[in-house]
Symmetry: C2
Subunit: 253 residues, 2 copies
Amino acid sequence: MNSVVIIGSGNVAQHLIKAVEKAPDLDLVQVFSRSHSGLKHLVPQEKITSNYEELKDATIYLICVSDNAIPSVSYALPFQGKLVAHTSGSVTLQEMSTQNRRAVLYPLQTFSKQKELDFTKVPLCLESEYETDYEILEKIASALSHTVYKIDSTQRQALHVAAVFVCNFVNHLYKIGNDICDEYDIPFAILRPLIMETASKITVLSPNEAQTGPAKRNDTTTINKHLNGLTKPNQKELYKILTKSIIDDVEKL
Amino acid sequence: MNSVVIIGSGNVAQHLIKAVEKAPDLDLVQVFSRSHSGLKHLVPQEKITSNYEELKDATIYLICVSDNAIPSVSYALPFQGKLVAHTSGSVTLQEMSTQNRRAVLYPLQTFSKQKELDFTKVPLCLESEYETDYEILEKIASALSHTVYKIDSTQRQALHVAAVFVCNFVNHLYKIGNDICDEYDIPFAILRPLIMETASKITVLSPNEAQTGPAKRNDTTTINKHLNGLTKPNQKELYKILTKSIIDDVEKL
C-alpha cells in the first residue's frame, strides 16, 4: 500500500487529508502543520507534527502550502531522494529543491471549507521529474480521483490562467448579477437555475455552440438599451468590453 | 381548465409547447406558425394555423416571437379584450397593442433546441396590466413551473441585463478557457468539473463569499505571471479589466 504524508493545513490540505483517508489503497502516515488545532477534527493528534525532523517515511510527500512557500518548504525537508510533489497550479516543477525526486499533483478545482465536495470527481494534473516516478504518481492519483491527466509545467500554467477565467472571473460576473438584483429588489435566487443551466449546457455543447444573447446576434438595439440602463461605471465598462469580445469572435468565424 | 394558444415556432415556443402539453391543468388549443414543418414533431397538424383569422378562443395567448416582432404581432391579432402575454425579457408591457389585456410571462432560462430541460424548474417572471388578470396569469404559470415571481417591466429589464452577465458573458469566459486549452493541447473536459462546482457553489455561498483567486488576494506576482503568459490581446484586456473590477470590489468592503 502506498503511504502519504501531507504538508500543510489549509483548504487544499484538508480536502486532500479527507480524500486520502477515504481511499482504501492509501495510508495517511502523517500531517505536517504549524498549528495542531485547525486539524483536530480531521486527524488524530499523534499523526500531526510541526517538526520537520520528525517526518516519517512515506511513498509520497504532498506539499499543500501557499504558492510562495513551496520552494522554501521543499528546501527545508531533512531527507533526500524521496518523491515530493507540490499541489499548485502556478508553480513549476523546477522551483522545488533538487534534493528530492520532484513531482506535481495539481487538483483542478475550487475548494472552500464551507462546501463538501466529491474528491473522486476532481481532475488531477500530474507531472514528474523522472519517468519512473510517473507510474507511482499515477497509481496514487488514481486512488484519489477517477480523472487523471498528464500535464507538463507549461500546460499547467496555461490551465491555471484558464481556471481563473472560468472560475474566478465567472464568479465575479455572478457577483455583478447579484448587485443588479439587489439594486432592483429582485431576489438573487431567481438567477440560480440560469446559472446552473449555463454551466451544464457545455457538457453537451461546446462554449462556441452554446453562445447566445444580444452580442452574438449583434443586436445593437438591445445592447444600447442595456448600456443605458446600467448605472455603475464598472458594469458599463465590462458590458462593453465583453460584448466587443463576443462580436469579434463571431466576425472571425 | 385554462386553455392556451402559442404564437411562434422558435426555441422558446417549442419549449413552451412541450411544457403546456405536459401540464395536466392546461389545454394547448392551437399554435400559430408561418411554417408547419418545424413543429410537426410536437403538435398535430390540425392544431397549427398560419392565419390570424383562424385563431380559436383561449384563456391566454402567449406571443413567443423575436423581440422586435412582438409589437406588430400584438397589433395583428383580430380580436379584442383577451389576455395576451409576451415572453420576452427586454420588451415592456407598454410596447404591445392596447386592444387586448396585456401581460408578460418571461421564462428566465437559456433555451437551446439541442438540450432538454425541466420546465418546472424555470423561474417565470409575471406582469399584468390589470390586477384581476394577475390571478389567472399566476394560475397558468404555476401549472408550468414551481417558481413564479411578480416582476414589473423595470425589474424585468434589469433582470435581462443581469442574465446577460451570468449567462452570455459567463459562456464567453468558458469559450476563452476553451481557447486557452486548445492553444496548449489540453482537453477542455478537464475544466468541466471546475465550471460545475463554481456554479453550484453559489447555491450555498453568496458570490461575494465564493470569490477566490489571485485578484481577490491582490497577488500581483501571479497576476503578472498570467498576463505575461497570455498571447491574445482580447484575453489580456479581459484579464486586466476583470482583475481590476475584483480588486476594486475588495477595496470597497
